[in-house]
Amino acid sequence: MGQHSENYAGLFQQEPNMTAANSHKTGFRFKKDYYGYLFIAPFIIAFLLFGLYPVYNTFRLSFTNTTLMGGSGSFVGLQNYQRLFDTPQFMKAVSNTWLLWILNFIPQIGIALLLSVWFTSVRLRIRAVGIWRTVYYLPNLLMPAAIAALFFSLFSFFGPVNQALVRSGLIAEPVQWLQNQTVARGLVIFIQWWMWFGATIILIMAGMTSISVSLYESAMIDGADEWKMFRWITIPLLKPILIYVFVTSLVGGMQMFDIPFLLTDGRGSPSGSILTNNMLMYLKFSSSQGHIGAASAVGVVVFIMTTVIALGIFYFLREKN
């Protein structure tokens, strides 16, 4: 087991040299190359059916007034979009989603950079790095729905947090924590951070350990201090990993659902402060008539917004490297 895990670590660093396997070509192999299509065929079929067609279908539905009950509706042009942009609820959901994502991403990347620097520092020689990382990563695998339900119960009116605070005399009477906007948003942000900082540490550390030690050695000879080395060696060489973390986190964050949905009443209470894009989409979908045309429009707008920004950042920043 140990040997394999070392292979993984090494692989990450050696990746640029891995093209040998691809360029290896003999006449004998060449004749069999059409087998490649057979091997990728199941993926392509499943993608067309369950990936691409649903995207097309969502776009199509967003131009109709289809409801769950009424079968296929009729073409209404941009009406769903017009209504969407006319309601303050939509802009609120979009800005909430951005806020909840940014405020968990900043401490997440901050803690991850700090700990990665400490964990990889030759001077500090922090012990048991593997164990710390293993513990920090654990929340990432747990069920978000269960974690949200846990915090819902912890902070409910008769819940353990109020009980403990009242008994210890810190507050005079129980507080409706989850009816406070700042507390509700703070909890969503905390849970998201709690679930993701460990994963980010692992990614950033993998990036840092793949930076050649000789770069730091020659910088030290030139008299650079630790901050300068971090700023001018670590950060620039870490850029691909940072972009990857940023973009994947953004794409996930724009689809945030389980935690804000289950933390309060599922409608973003208090006063819509934790209503996200996906929750709004679900609300339209589950409304009494089941307006799936309108729900699709939410999906389409957020899909386009997220895809354009994600791919934009990914390609724009990568080109310059």
Binding site: I40, P42, P54, N57, T58, S156, P240
Partner: protein, 281 residues
Amino acid sequence: MKQTHRSSLTLFRTLIYIFLFGLVIVTIIPIWLVLVNATRSTLEIQQGLSAMPSTHLFDNYGILEGRGLNLLRGFTNSLFVATFSTVLAVYFSLMTAYGIVVYNFRGKRFFTSFVILLVLIPLQLSIIGFYQFMSRIGLTDNYASLILPVIASAGAVFFGKQYFESVVVHDLIDAGRVDGAGEFGIFHRIMMPIAVPGAVTLGIFAFAAAWNNFFNAFILISSIEKYTLPMLVQLMRGDVYRTEYGAIYLGLAVTIVPIIIIYLIFSRYIVNGIAMGAVKE
């Protein structure tokens, strides 16, 4: 001079360890609360926090059952969906990755960059179109709608590609061909056994993703006897259970304990696997 430098380094390291330990506490406390409170009665829970388990595990299970929440059935349903999703995701992702790594077919580069691109596309936002499609072909309220889409897992294919690039030995493939094995035979009998460690890593991520998936099940599954665990978690927030804290924590514990056990056994595979799945180029 050197002495003070060394002692300030010691102080700094001590502070770092305190910080790291504090983060461990923050990480563990919510999980610990669930596990401990699952064994405590509601009365005990309301009397305050405790680090020690109690004896009311089975009472709590009785309360959940008494109110019509079939935790065991939810567990079996989740296990069924997660197991099938894992098998399909691992098998077809490795197959696709193998195709990319071993054969030089036309359009291979395009296909590979397309898979990487897919990792960055928020496909969950097409759930409404997906739902309506499933509804038309009669697959809503059917586990097939949860399981079949994993055949096209872009992230898993990317991981598999990285993995095969490190373990595929072309001489072995050639030897297999000389022995008269077919291309799929080589994949199944020679390459799959070599790829077991990668398959395990991939399998754990696929299992956790399917096990924890709330959104899709919530949209697609409607009959209560087909509910998976995250949907039961959602039910437990309802009024019927509102003040039965012990029972709620037991329900939550059942959802997270299997994953914690898997993690304790395979954490090495997982921690190393995360870095490998990252797009680096």
